[in-house]
């Protein structure tokens, strides 16, 4: 019984890992102006640009970031080339 719970919890915690798509985006903070480029993983319900924008904006807002735009939506094979540029904002939110 306990083991089953743990398994479910583990599956829930791991669910972002089963994301079907990723997006790279640009965001800003005001006064003083700060900018960042980041990569975020999205559930497959949010793989369109508009849905991705909505969800990304909500998730980065916790640190006061304002989404400027979603640059592209890509699959897991596109992560490697973007990791260096995104730096600390690679899959952070």
């Amino acid at each position: 019984m306990m083991k089953k719970y743990i398994l479910i919890l583990a599956m829930m915690a791991a669910s972002p890992a089963t994301a079907s798509c990723y997006a790279d985006y640009k965001a800003k903070q005001n006064s003083p102006l700060r900018l960042h480029y980041g990569v975020i993983e999205l559930p497959d319900t949010a793989c369109s640009k508009s849905a991705a924008a909505l969800q990304t904006a909500q998730r980065i807002a916790v640190d006061g970031w304002e989404l400027l735009h979603i640059q592209s939506i890509f699959q897991a094979d596109g992560l490697g080339e973007r990791e260096k540029n995104a730096g600390q904002y690679f899959l952070r939110y």
Binding site: D24, K26, K28, N30, P32, L33, R34, L35, H36, Y37, L68, H69, Q71, R82, N85, A86, G87
Partner: protein, 234 residues
């Protein structure tokens, strides 16, 4: 119907109205200029918005260093906009000075016009004596620096009158005759004093008119000493 009556007070009223309207116009124009100035100067966000636009429009600008550079660019723009704000203050102060000077200039202009009108009136009232200098030794009197030669008796009369004027006194004919001849005033004839006054008037008036109005130019003839534009015949 009082509406049809125009009186001399109207121009003066119009004058003060003109001043009020002029001052209001100056203040309005400069206020408008100040408002335009404050609205049109870019604020700090103009630079930030521009940097943001560059960031969004260029898909290649994803490198961390590039982004850092963009942030520095925006910060330098912001500090420049602080400088602009101080310039704006300076310009505003200068505008206030300018409006004060314009208002003062307008007031002075109106004052000068009013003074000119007064001057014209004073000129029309005729001769205004601003200085009277009596020289007994030369039997000469200087009126406004115009020199008039008088007889000894006429100078005596004028001196007596001048002394009485300085004491704010009025003299009767008897008193004038008495003071000049040295006898007590009760013994003197009123007519003798009147004669002295008449001779003084004749002598001085004749010379004054010849100086101010009917001039004699030596060996050439006589002419009126006035501007020919002021002559009118009715």
């Amino acid at each position: 119907m009082p509406d049809n009556i125009s009186s001399a007070t109207e121009p003066r009223l119009n004058g003060s109205k003109v001043v009020a309207i002029g001052i209001a116009a100056i203040v309005l124009i400069l206020l408008g200029a100040a408002v335009l100035l404050f609205l049109n100067l870019p604020d700090a966000n103009a630079f930030n918005a521009r940097v943001e636009q560059i960031f969004v429009e260029n898909n290649d600008l994803t490198n961390g260093t590039d982004i850092k550079l963009l942030e520095i660019l925006a910060q330098s723009g912001t500090s420049f906009s602080d400088t602009l704000a101080s310039y704006r203050m300076v310009i505003f102060v200068l505008l206030v000075f300018a409006s004060a000077l314009l208002v003062a200039a307008l007031v002075f202009l109106v004052t000068i016009i009013a003074l000119n009108k007064r001057m014209g009136e004073i000129e029309r009232t005729g001769i205004q004596v601003s200085s009277l200098l009596i020289s007994r030794e030369e039997n000469t009197v200087y009126l406004n620096n115009m020199e008039f030669k008088l007889t000894e008796a006429a100078i005596e009369t004028l001196s007596v009158l001048a002394e009485a004027r300085m004491d704010e006194d009025l003299l009767s004919g008897c008193e004038i005759e008495g003071m000049i001849s040295g006898r007590p005033a009760s013994d003197c004839d009123e007519a003798a004093g009147a004669t002295r006054i008449k001779r003084l008037r004749d002598s001085l008036g004749n010379q004054m008119v010849s100086e101010l109005l009917v001039k004699n130019i030596a060996r050439r003839g006589y002419m009126l000493a006035i501007d020919k534009d002021v002559i009118r015949m009715i």
